[in-house]
Amino acid sequence: MTTGASTSATATSPTSPGSVSTPSTILRTVDLTKDFRGFTAVNAVSLDVAEGTIHALVGPNGAGKTTLFNLLTGFLTPTSGQILLRGDDISGRQPEEIAHLGVARSFQITSLFEQMTLLEHLELALASPTGLGYKFWTSRKSLGRFKQRGMELLAEVGLADRSGVTAGSLAYGQKRALEISLALANDPALLLLDEPTAGMGLEDVDRTIALVKKASVGRTVVFVDHNMHVVGSLADQVTVLQSGEVLAEGTYDDVRNDERVITAYLGESGGEHG
């Protein structure tokens, strides 16, 4: 079922969900499959993500990368297969539950609260795990306790001076940065970024690479990007998807020299357009 070089324990009985493959595996999928009315977007994908690494997911358009993200974060329910987070089966859980387990994501298509200020975005993100959001009887001022941390986070992505403007008035690149800072807010153990550099100019791309690098300290990052420069600079491990299946896996250098990957994805120029 699984094509390509799986690195670790995919061979050992993938059917027993409870079994933790290696101590350092934080995220693992077992034969994960998603059907859309007869079209299989993700097909029996078994994936291991080692704790503390940066893992890139690449592949042609429509390979199923975003769908895989949506499965991992609960926005879609798998047709079959399992998703194990530190050995616990989380398939079928709701997005908000998964978020509380320390998984944060950014969206391929920018997804913000257009009418809220940047600081308000971060306050919301920071308040989420505290349950403060349910308190309809207290004053909104109680959110103020997140202000300092919120400003720090904004500063990290270079948006500190814009904390008071509404997200709707940001330029595209800034919106992407805000997406990332939201994902980072609650210090997630696992960070999922869907095309963090899409639509950015070169300078912004490099800034984002640096940002992700910095953010990856002490946590695991899985990201999707078509920009090979980004993949090359960041990824410890690369999984190539094609037509919903794993085509190849390995380090960036392994993968970029893989014949199948070159035909299916990179093309003869080796992806050097970006």
């Binding site: 859309f36 079209f39 690449v58 592949g59 042609p60 358009n61 429509g62 390979a63 199923g64 990368k65 975003t66 391929q108 298509i109 330029a171 595209y172 690149g173 095309e195 899409a198 639509g199 950015m200 100019g201 070169l202 300078e203 912004d204 078509h226 090979m228 035909t263 299916a264 994805y265 990179l266 093309g267 003869e268 120029s269 080796g270 992806g271 050097e272 357009h273 970006g274």
Partner: protein
């Protein structure tokens, strides 16, 4: 020099009170690929929308084939042979892939690509032909958007960042298509942030900064000065 197809003459455009294009003059000839490169927010999309007749708050003139487009509605301009690939791709959710392809009226029978030819070029579209358009992945939607004006047989294509979000192999493929249609006499005005890609397909480049064309140069000059220019533009 081939005949001139599109002429934009001292065009200014406004968003409300803000001026986003300042006296922009560019032209594209038959069989030529001309780019607009520049940072986010430089005004590239606004220029394309103005040519298409979708952005109305403008000053200056735009002519196709020597006749002015002033006062012509967008659908009229499309039927005169301008094909637009919007930056958000503009795929219809309520239409199937094939319906998305056949929606625009064919403007030039001889230039129009057949569905078969399109499917040969993008096999994945054939596979998903009966799916609602927006159920395609981002990149698949981009292919669909590119294919649409080919199907119509437009003679001038306005491409707004066609390489964005595409797998490298598809980017090369798109590049090949652009070169192909150019040789068939189609004119292309290409908006790009991907400078490397732009330099593989274009004849001439216009560098846009803060709504102004700050530099116009041919591809050789562009390639030799890429780094310097990028620095200059802050890209």
């Amino acid at each position: 020099m081939a005949e001139r197809l599109l002429t934009v003459d001292t065009l200014s455009a406004f968003h409300g009170e803000a001026q986003v294009l300042r006296d922009v003059s560019i032209d594209v000839s038959v069989g030529e690929v001309v780019t607009l490169v520049g940072r986010n927010g430089a005004g590239k999309t606004t220029l394309l929308r103005s040519i298409m007749g979708l952005h109305k708050n403008t000053r200056g003139s735009i002519a196709l084939d020597g006749t002015t487009l002033d006062g012509k509605s967008a659908d009229k301009r499309a039927r005169l042979g301008i094909g637009w690939v919007p930056d958000d791709r503009g795929i219809y959710a309520t239409l199937t892939v094939e319906e998305n392809l056949s929606l625009p009226p064919v403007v030039d029978k001889d230039a129009s690509w057949s569905l078969d030819r399109i499917y040969e070029q993008f096999p994945v579209l054939r596979e998903r032909r009966d799916f609602p358009g927006t159920k395609l992945s981002g990149g698949e939607q981009q292919m669909l958007a590119m294919a649409r004006p080919l199907r119509a047989g437009s003679r001038l294509l306005l491409l707004d960042e066609p390489s964005e979000g595409l797998a490298p192999v598809i980017v090369s493929q798109i590049g090949q298509i652009i070169r192909d249609i150019r040789s068939q006499g189609v004119a292309v005005l290409l908006v790009e942030q991907n400078v490397k890609f732009a330099s593989t397909v274009a004849d001439r480049h216009n560098l846009l900064a803060q709504g102004e064309v700050v530099e116009s140069l041919d591809n050789d000059a562009f390639q030799s000065r890429t780094t310097e220019l990028l620095q200059h533009l802050g890209m």
